[in-house]
C-alpha cells in the first residue's frame, strides 16, 4: 500500500513517457537514419553518407524554401507582435464593450488555416477580389496582384498569417498588461508621467516573459507553416512560395524520394532547435535569486 502511494505518479506517467520516447524521439532518430540513406519509395537502411544533404543544398527549390522561411518568419513574427501589442494597448484603455471587441479580434484564431488561406485566395485573386472590386469603383488602373507575382506572392502568405495570428498575440499581451502591478502604474500617474512613457518605460519592460512566449509560439507556427501555403498559393506561382514543410511533403509523398524528405525534415528540426534551445536554457537553468 505504501509502495503504491509512493509510486502512483510513476506508474501513471510511465505509459505516456514510453509513448513519447518511442513516437517522438524514436521517430526523430529513425528520420535521422533515413536521411543518411538512399531511400526512395520505401525506407532502406544501408547508410550512404551525406548524399541527401548534398542534394538538398544543391537544389534551387530548397534555397527558395529556406529564404521564404526566413522572410516569412521574420515578417510574420514582427508584424504580428507589433499589431498585437498595439491592439492590446488600445483595448487596455478601459473602453466600453471591451469584451466584444476582444472576441472580434481573437476570433480569426478559431479558424482553420485552410479556411484562412482559401478565403484570402479569393480576396487576393486579381480577377475576383480586391483588385476587381476597386476597378469596379472606377479606378481602372488599380493593381493589386501580389498573389500571381512570383516576387510578391510570399507577402500574401505573410498577410494572411498576420491576419490569423495577431488577435491571439493581442490576447497574450492583454493578459500581460493586466498582470503588471497597478500600484506602480498609479504611482507613476501620480508623479505626472505621460501615458506613453508609462507604457514604454514601465509596462512593456516588465512584460518581457510574455514577449518571449509570444515569440516562441509565433516562431514555431512559422517554421511548421504548411496548410496556409497549400490553401493560399499551392506553393506557386511556380515554386515561389515554397516553405521547407511543403518541400518535405512534395519529396516524401509526391515524388517517392524519402531520403531527400528526411534530410529536409532534419534541417527544419535544427532550425527549430536553434530557436527553442536558448529559450529552454533560459527557462530551465536554476535561478540565482531562488
Amino acid at each position: 500500500m505504501e509502495w503504491l502511494e509512493r509510486n502512483v505518479p510513476k506508474v501513471v506517467l510511465a505509459p505516456s513517457f514510453v509513448a513519447i520516447l518511442v513516437f517522438v524521439y524514436g521517430f526523430i532518430a529513425w528520420t535521422a537514419w533515413i536521411s543518411f540513406t538512399r531511400s526512395r519509395l520505401m525506407p532502406r537502411y544501408e547508410l550512404d553518407g551525406v548524399t541527401q544533404y548534398e542534394r538538398l543544398f544543391a537544389a534551387p527549390r530548397w534555397d527558395v524554401a529556406m529564404n521564404n522561411l526566413f522572410l516569412f518568419g521574420g515578417l510574420f513574427i514582427v508584424i504580428s507582435m507589433v499589431i498585437g501589442l498595439m491592439l492590446a494597448i488600445f483595448l487596455d484603455q478601459k473602453i466600453r464593450a471591451e469584451g466584444v471587441l476582444r472576441t472580434i479580434y481573437l476570433y480569426p484564431m478559431a479558424l482553420s488555416l485552410i479556411v484562412t488561406g482559401t478565403a484570402w485566395k479569393w480576396i487576393l485573386n486579381p480577377g475576383l477580389g480586391i483588385q476587381e472590386a476597386v476597378r469596379g469603383w472606377g479606378f481602372e488602373n488599380f493593381t493589386f496582384d501580389w498573389l500571381i507575382q512570383p516576387d510578391m506572392a510570399i507577402y500574401t502568405v505573410v498577410l494572411a498569417a498576420v491576419w490569423q495570428a495577431s488577435g491571439f498575440v493581442m490576447a497574450l499581451f492583454l493578459a500581460g498588461l493586466r498582470s503588471v502591478d497597478s500600484e506602480i502604474i498609479r504611482a507613476a500617474q501620480v508623479d505626472g508621467i505621460p501615458t506613453h512613457r508609462i507604457y514604454s518605460a514601465i509596462i512593456i519592460p516588465t512584460m518581457a516573459p510574455i514577449f518571449l512566449s509570444a515569440f516562441i509560439v509565433l516562431a514555431h507556427l512559422a517554421i511548421k507553416a504548411f496548410d496556409l501555403v497549400i490553401a493560399l498559393t499551392g506553393g506557386g506561382p511556380g515554386y515561389a512560395t515554397d516553405l521547407p514543410a511543403t518541400y518535405m511533403y512534395a519529396m516524401a509523398f509526391s515524388r517517392g524520394d524519402l531520403g531527400q524528405a528526411a534530410s529536409s525534415a532534419m534541417i527544419m528540426m535544427m532550425v527549430i532547435f536553434a530557436i527553442v534551445v536558448p529559450y529552454l536554457y533560459s527557462e530551465l537553468r536554476p535561478r540565482r535569486d531562488q
Partner: protein
C-alpha cells in the same frame, strides 16, 4: 429478414465454404470522382458476377498521392492489398522494392502481347514477366479549341508551333485570351512536354525526357523549347496562377479563351457539359508528330493464399477483357489499351486517338508522357517540373533554364 431466410443464407454459406476457394480482391485505387467511380463500379460488378468478393479501398485526393501513402503504410505493415492502381515506372520501382506477382499465365493465355502496342506492353512487365494490366490509354498531347471563336476569326487548328503563335497573336489583337491555362506545375509540365515533342520530334523527346541525355537537355533545340514556353506564357491570361485544369477547360467552353493544351480527360468536361465534338469544340493533336500516352493500370502484389491469387488472376483477366475495356473507357473518356476493341459509340476524338496510337506505335513515335509519370521515376520527373515551372513563372532566360535543367536532373539521380 426473417428467421427462415437467415437460416437459408447461412446454409448457403456453409455449403459454399468447403468448395473451391473463392477469388477475393482488395483493390486500392483513387478513382473517386463521378465518372471514375462509375468506371470502377463496372469492374466491381463483373468481378462479383464471376463469383468473386471485392473489397473496395478507394483513397481520394491528390492525383494518387494519398493513395500511394496509404499503400506505403500497408506494405510496410506487411499487409499489401491484392491489386493497386499503379502506373508507369512506379510499377518497376515497386517491383524492385517489394516484388510483384507474376500474372504471366493469364497474359499468355489471352495473348496480351498480340493486342497491346509493344511500348505499352513494356510498361506492364517487370524483368520480362507480366506484373500489371492496363485499363486505358489517355493521349496527353491534345489541343482543344472553341469552334465558334476559331470560325469567327478564321483560324484553323494549328499544325506547327509557328501557326499556333500566329493564331494566338491574331486572337490577342482581337481581344480574346488565346490559351486557357491553369498555373499548377503539372499543367506547366504538360505544355512543356508537348512543345518538346513538337519542336524536337519524337527522337529528341526520347533522348531528352526518357533517356535524360545531358547533351539533349542542354541542346539548342531545348533552348528553343524554352523560348517557345516564354512566348506561350504571353498568351495566358493574368489570372492563371493556381487555377484547376477543369476551370481552364470551362474557359474554352464558355468562349473566354480559344485553346487549351490538355490530355483527353478534358473531353470528359466538354461532354459532361453537353458539348459536341466538331460542333461546339474541336480537338487536334498538338503541333508536331507523335503520341504521348498516359496509361492507367493495375499491379498485383505477391501474396499468400489461394483465394487472393485467384482474385488477382480473375481481375487481370477482366481488366484486359474487351468488354470491360469498352465500357470502362466510354465512361472515362479515354481509349482502350487493346487495339482490337470495336470503337462503336466512341466519339471522333477517341477514334482519331485510337488510329493515331496504332500508326504511331508502328512509326516508333508512341511515347510515354513525362508530365504524367509514365516516362520517369518520381525524383527526376519532379526535378524537371521544378525547372519548367520556375522558368514559366519568372523571367529566367532559356540559357539559364537548360543549365538548371541538366543540373536538376543530375542532382535527382
Amino acid at each position: 429478414m426473417n428467421m427462415k431466410s437467415v437460416l437459408a443464407a447461412s446454409t448457403a454459406v456453409m455449403l459454399a465454404g468447403p468448395a473451391l476457394a473463392e477469388p477475393t480482391a482488395e483493390v486500392l485505387h483513387w478513382w473517386t470522382s463521378g465518372g471514375e467511380a462509375k468506371s470502377v463500379a463496372v469492374l466491381q460488378e463483373q468481378f462479383a458476377a464471376e463469383g468473386g468478393t471485392w473489397t473496395d479501398m478507394p483513397v481520394a485526393g491528390g492525383g494518387g498521392d494519398a493513395a500511394m501513402t496509404a499503400l506505403r503504410a500497408r506494405v510496410l505493415s506487411g499487409n499489401a492489398p491484392t491489386a493497386v492502381q499503379l502506373k508507369g515506372p512506379a510499377i518497376q520501382e515497386w517491383y524492385e522494392e517489394v516484388g510483384l506477382a507474376d500474372i504471366g499465365p493469364v497474359a499468355e493465355e489471352n495473348g496480351w502481347d498480340d493486342v497491346l502496342p509493344a511500348q505499352i506492353a513494356e510498361h506492364m512487365k517487370c524483368e520480362g514477366q507480366w506484373c500489371a494490366a492496363p485499363v486505358n490509354v489517355h493521349r496527353v498531347n491534345w489541343i482543344w479549341g472553341n469552334k465558334q471563336i476559331l470560325d469567327e476569326h478564321g483560324i484553323e487548328m494549328p499544325t506547327t508551333w509557328d501557326e499556333f503563335n500566329a493564331a494566338a497573336e491574331k486572337l490577342q489583337t482581337a481581344g480574346v485570351t488565346p490559351l486557357a491555362h491553369g498555373g499548377q506545375n503539372w499543367q506547366d509540365a504538360t505544355i512543356f512536354e508537348t512543345v518538346v515533342l513538337g519542336l524536337g520530334g519524337p527522337e529528341f523527346y526520347q533522348q531528352a525526357l526518357v533517356d535524360l541525355d545531358p547533351e539533349a537537355l542542354t541542346s539548342d533545340t531545348m533552348k528553343s523549347v524554352f523560348d517557345e514556353m516564354r512566348v506561350i506564357r504571353g498568351y495566358v491570361d493574368d489570372n492563371f496562377s493556381g487555377r484547376d485544369w477543369n476551370l481552364a477547360t470551362a474557359m474554352v467552353m464558355n468562349g473566354e479563351a480559344a485553346f487549351q493544351i490538355m490530355g483527353d480527360w478534358a473531353k470528359g468536361e466538354f461532354l459532361a457539359a453537353g458539348k459536341e465534338p466538331g460542333v461546339d469544340f474541336v480537338c487536334a493533336p498538338t503541333p508536331g508528330e507523335g503520341f504521348l500516352y498516359n496509361v492507367d493500370s493495375f499491379a498485383f502484389f505477391e501474396l499468400e493464399g489461394e483465394d487472393k491469387q485467384q482474385g488477382q488472376a480473375l481481375l487481370a483477366n477482366l481488366i484486359m477483357g474487351p468488354d470491360f475495356q469498352q465500357t470502362f473507357n466510354l465512361n472515362k473518356g479515354s481509349i482502350p489499351a487493346r487495339t482490337d476493341v470495336a470503337l462503336d459509340g466512341f466519339d471522333d476524338c477517341a477514334t482519331q486517338s485510337n488510329a493515331d496510337m496504332t500508326a504511331d506505335a508502328e512509326a516508333g513515335s508512341l511515347l510515354p508522357s513525362y508530365a504524367h509519370g509514365m516516362a520517369l521515376r518520381g525524383a527526376p520527373a519532379g526535378a524537371i517540373t521544378d525547372v519548367v515551372t520556375a522558368h514559366f513563372n519568372s523571367d529566367m532566360s532559356s540559357d539559364d533554364a537548360v543549365q538548371q535543367l541538366s543540373d536538376a536532373v543530375a542532382n535527382a539521380m
